[in-house]
Subunit: 228 residues, 2 copies
Amino acid sequence: MRDLFTRELDQVGEDLVSMADHVATAIENATIALRTADLALAEAVIDGDNDIDDMERVLDQRCVDLLARQAPVAGDLRLVVTALRMSASIERMGDLARHVAQIARGRYPEGAVPADLAETFDRMGAAATQAARSMAELLRTRDLELAAQIEAADDVLDDLQRDTFRMTLTSTDGLGSQAVVDVTLLGRFYERFGDHAVSVARRVTYLVTGDPAGFTTEGYNDTGDAYR
Amino acid sequence: MRDLFTRELDQVGEDLVSMADHVATAIENATIALRTADLALAEAVIDGDNDIDDMERVLDQRCVDLLARQAPVAGDLRLVVTALRMSASIERMGDLARHVAQIARGRYPEGAVPADLAETFDRMGAAATQAARSMAELLRTRDLELAAQIEAADDVLDDLQRDTFRMTLTSTDGLGSQAVVDVTLLGRFYERFGDHAVSVARRVTYLVTGDPAGFTTEGYNDTGDAYR
């Protein structure tokens, strides 16, 4: 019975890693679609989000079944409950990648990103992709060095979001309102993507160290309130 | 033992209602602070979000304790797991009300909402407040008529968000970039607030009817992709 439980827990872990791999690819491709006005790639990201949603449903059902059949306590219980929460965060990261792709699609054949913000969004895409790849690796290895890298990538995203605000206010390109709306939403989506990666990183850290210090529900929250 | 379990489940339900009451008041006051540039009220909403976060922590711990000590199955298990998820949604609604208040504070003593969008945001605030009040009442009574009202309020919020996009593009007031950024973020916050209320409504509906039809993880997601 215990072996079965362990195998099922392992499966939950593998499902989380697989979801994390999917959202890393999603945000990477969404960024390419955004920056190159690649309609087909944008559509692929949008369609692919259904797969991530399906993975969450399967994982959540597996967790609820585990709770019902195995009635875990202590560390095992914490593991299952935490997996349920992490799956919600990762699913949401998939949604945010989809939103980026939707804006790319909505502006096609134009690009949604003004020329003088191109580099900023390249960097946002790179930081978000790195956060998601580190998250997948953290879930796989539990190497907490990766958690620190995710926090650092999130700080980069927060700074870049602040840059987008400043640049929309000072751009000499004469940005139209549509561009300002798009840039504001895109910045928000990348920033939230990073927040969710941090939430997952803090939950894994808590599982590994047993120390809730520094992990409050702020892990869910906007870790960088750039519009404060 | 069973009586104790029932009492503890009742307490979880009361905690959820109390959280819902708090976020309803938070979004109502955030809207007033936003529309009247009331700094003290904005600060009160921002500070008050800590209380909502604390309530979530207490409620979540209660749920995990229940799982550990009572090992519920079937409907009782679903109830506890669903409560964990609903508390996350309601906590997030508190964050979004806080974000509205933060924008009000950031623009003080100016108002953040341009004159020709004042009515739109009054209506967003009213719809969001109504959704949250209906959510509290739904959690209290499980009257599914209230779930329908929440879905309707969310539809109103989605429509109003679309209005904000259209108005930022067509305003003859010559909106500056700061106003466009603020309006875009504010519209997003209210729209997401409605999404989370819908998520809770669908979870309660599922608990009452046992019918997952129409409830997928889309309940978590943006139900209205106005920027699609």
